[in-house]
């Protein structure tokens, strides 16, 4: 459970060339006309205008190479994909390719026979081109891969304003909670709050707080998936979260990803907690602070505890009920074709990070104003995300948890935060109830 944190990738020239070769082979997959017209439905919750434009480019390229196959892109949302997919699965009218869902959601679907094994697609993309262990999170108990990462995301980076730090006399980026609290106290004032931590009843609060538990040296489950949230580490995490409340805006009690991002980007908070989308948004919406923005891994209880980065491992998978599996697999592999894949990554530079070594070193990928301007930040996020975890995969020692999605979706962890931090309920009582609720979810 550690991040290398050095921001460097171990890419050999040979490895990069192999990756490029694999991608080139992909691009020249045999072009054949399909006997019947096939329409592939592609779902993703990542649908910003720039991203949709990149997807359109990939679709057009694919359709030109494969006459007879049409691809339709349909947007879902981070909070709304579960009911949409549930309806799709139960009706049999499923999308053929789904991207950007967290790995634990795919694990849950695979455990119920709803996802097609993905091994052959990974082979087509080039298994050797992935960073070491990049697909471990997608390996099911039966040894098959259930999908692959379409990117990495370091979702809980601590974003900082160097100008505010300097003005407040904060001489280094906080590494521990005490340092973070002190920095936020020093920077808060004049309409600027210390931090935009989420306290809302939503998945962001759950996901961020799971990270805080780990940053206290704790865990939600043991490696054998016994519930382990009722611990001193969780109590310490709750104490920290409560102590930060006065440093967050009043409305943080209802914050989710959008509000938290906006608070930092607009300059209303001195620090932020988010993934790399901050970079593009700051440059587009508040360029005045663009030169002052930087990021580090989120502080922890002490430097003895390793940083814990939340990576939702945005995925690509194919529903088992897809009527066009072969075409869907071709398209899924094609999504990693360098030209289109890089366009997709550039649509949210630094936010969705490449999973292929050959892409990280590809001059075309590096030729982006934001990636160039924030090279050290992007490198740090890439390495932090590569060593990141989530509730479906809490550490390298943990078994894959196919109930991770249900635990997050139930809101039980956000409820824990709200009850203890906002309502001031007894932490021991609430933790006992939380454990029981999670145990009930695990039993199904």
């Amino acid at each position: 459970m550690s991040n290398s944190g050095n921001g460097k990738f171990d890419v050999t020239r040979r490895g990069a060339l192999k990756g490029l070769a694999a991608s080139t082979v992909l691009a020249t997959l045999p072009v054949r006309a399909w006997a019947q017209d096939v329409t592939l439905r592609w779902w993703s919750p990542q649908g910003s205008p720039d991203q949709v434009a990149a997807y359109k480019f990939q679709i057009e390229q694919f359709e030109a190479m494969h006459p007879g196959i049409k691809v339709v892109f349909e947007t879902t949302s981070d909070e709304g994909y579960a009911p949409q997919l549930a309806a799709a699965f139960s009706s049999g009218e499923v999308p053929d390719v789904v991207t950007h869902l967290p790995s634990f959601a795919v694990a849950s679907y695979y455990a119920n026979g709803l996802v097609e094994p993905f091994d052959d697609v990974i082979e087509a993309i080039g298994a050797d081109d992935y960073y070491a262990g990049a697909n471990d999170v997608f390996k099911a108990a039966d040894g098959k891969y259930i999908g692959t990462g379409i990117g990495n995301t370091a979702a809980n980076m601590l974003w900082l304003r160097k100008d505010l730090m300097e003005a407040a006399g904060v001489d280094k980026a906080p590494e521990t909670w005490d340092e973070l609290r002190a920095a936020c106290q020093a920077m808060q004032g004049g309409g600027v709050y210390g931090a935009p931590l989420p306290y809302g009843r939503n998945s962001m609060t759950s996901l961020i707080f799971i990270g805080v538990i780990h940053q206290a040296g704790g865990q939600v489950f043991t490696p054998d998936l016994e519930v382990d949230i009722d611990s001193d580490a969780t109590r310490a995490a709750l104490d920290f979260y409560a102590s930060m409340r006065e440093l967050c805006p009043p409305g943080a009690t209802n914050y989710s990803w959008g509000e938290s991002l906006t608070a930092f980007v607009s300059g209303a908070s001195a620090t932020g907690i988010y993934a790399g989308r901050v970079l593009a948004n700051v440059n587009a919406q508040n360029p005045g602070i663009a030169n002052s923005v930087t990021c580090v891994t989120y502080p922890r209880i002490s430097t003895d505890v390793a940083p814990w980065t939340f990576n939702d491992f945005p995925s690509v998978f194919i529903p088992a009920q897809s009527k066009h599996k072969d075409a869907a697999k071709m398209f899924a592999a094609f999504l990693f074709n360098p030209e289109g894949y890089i366009k997709q990554l550039h649509a949210a530079p630094g936010h969705v990070l490449p999973v292929l070594k050959s892409i990280s070193t590809n001059p075309m990928y590096l030729d982006n104003a934001i990636i160039k301007a924030y090279e050290s930040e992007v490198d740090l996020m890439a390495s932090a995300a590569a060593g990141g975890y989530n509730l479906g995969y809490e550490s390298a020692a943990h078994k894959s948890n196919d109930k991770g999605g249900e635990v997050v979706g139930s809101g039980v962890i956000a409820d824990l935060v709200q009850r203890v931090v906002l309502n001031g309920e007894n932490a021991d009582t609430v933790l006992g109830e939380t454990s029981k609720t999670i145990e009930a979810i695990m039993k199904g």
Binding site: A86, F89, S90, N112, L114, T253, N254, E406, G411, Q418
Partner: protein, 298 residues
């Protein structure tokens, strides 16, 4: 001797009658009976939502539901929301209908504009209200701070009782035009002679309202209250989008609980049990409604 045997013509008419009523019966079965029976049937199983596969558990879901504090808490929240928002809808609705019934110069325009909240998509309305309530950039906090009423922004959606009050107010804003339209239509049919007679008898505006207008509105208000009570009771999107049921479960009504069970916990059987329990509560409203409309017909 009574002749029991139907004539050929009578049999023909009976068959024709059944054929004519058959489409209605079929549609009724398809849109009412089938979903209802399905929901009750599903509630007897432990079902994984995406596959709709599961095992028979009989009444276990109901036993678990009734033993859960969350159900009773959500029911209580549901009743607070329904009574709160419905009362304001009626109050605002009657008030606005009375204003729009007056001979004011912008009456036609106002009658059109008043429908705006009712017609606007709930998602759009909620987005607008979330920005109005926003702690950092919301106009409400900005104006109140500028006026010196508050020193710090008010947390409208993340703390109690603010969250419940905000949800009730937004609900009242969104749905009061329905009351306006219905009441306005009834106001226009009240004979002027009643008001003239009251004036001659020396009744003032308040007395005319309570002695003539309100009794005349009684029937329409019964219908409005029953319909809106049912619709508000099962309101989902507005509350879900505004607060998600929070803080903690303070604004979590039964429809939100059904959603959580069905799609967050993938437990369709339990969700169906909650939905059936909700239906039982709503049945009370329906019985009242049917009795009231029955009395009117009589």
């Amino acid at each position: 001797m009574i002749k029991n045997k139907q004539t050929k013509l009578e049999r023909h008419y009976a068959t024709l009658g059944m054929m004519l009523i058959a489409p209605t019966v079929l549609v009724f079965c398809a849109v009412i009976v089938y979903p209802l029976v399905s929901a009750i049937y599903l509630s007897l199983f432990d079902i994984y939502t995406p596959t709709l596969q599961g095992e028979w558990v009989g009444l276990d879901n109901y036993r678990e539901l009734l033993g859960k504090g969350e159900f009773w808490a959500s029911l209580r929240t549901n009743l607070i929301w329904t009574v709160g928002t419905l009362s304001l809808q009626i109050l605002f609705g009657i008030g606005m209908a009375l204003v729009l019934h007056q001979n004011i110069w912008f009456r036609s325009l106002a009658r059109s504009l008043i429908l705006f909240p009712y017609f606007i998509s709930t998602v759009v309305a909620v987005l607008v209200w979330r920005w109005l309530f926003n702690d950092l950039y919301g106009i409400l906090n900005h104006l109140m701070m500028a006026a010196g009423l508050i020193d710090m922004p008010v947390d409208y959606l993340g703390s109690m009782p603010n969250a419940m009050i905000s949800v009730i107010l937004v609900g009242a804003w969104k749905y009061f035009p329905f009351v306006v339209i219905a009441v306005l239509a009834r106001l226009q049919t009240i004979p002027d002679s009643l008001y003239e007679a009251a004036r001659i008898d020396g009744a003032g505006p308040v007395a005319r309202f309570f002695d003539i207008t309100l009794p005349q509105l009684r029937d329409v208000l019964v219908v409005i209250i029953m319909l809106r009570a049912i619709w508000d009771f099962k309101e989902f999107d507005l509350i879900f989008l505004l607060t998600g049921g929070g803080p903690v479960t303070s604004t979590q009504t039964l429809p939100l609980l059904v959603y959580k069970e069905a799609f967050s916990l993938n437990n369709m059987g339990m969700a169906a049990a909650y939905a059936v329990a909700m239906m039982a509560v709503m049945l009370v409203f329906m019985i009242l409604y049917i009795r009231k409309t029955g009395e009117k017909d009589a």
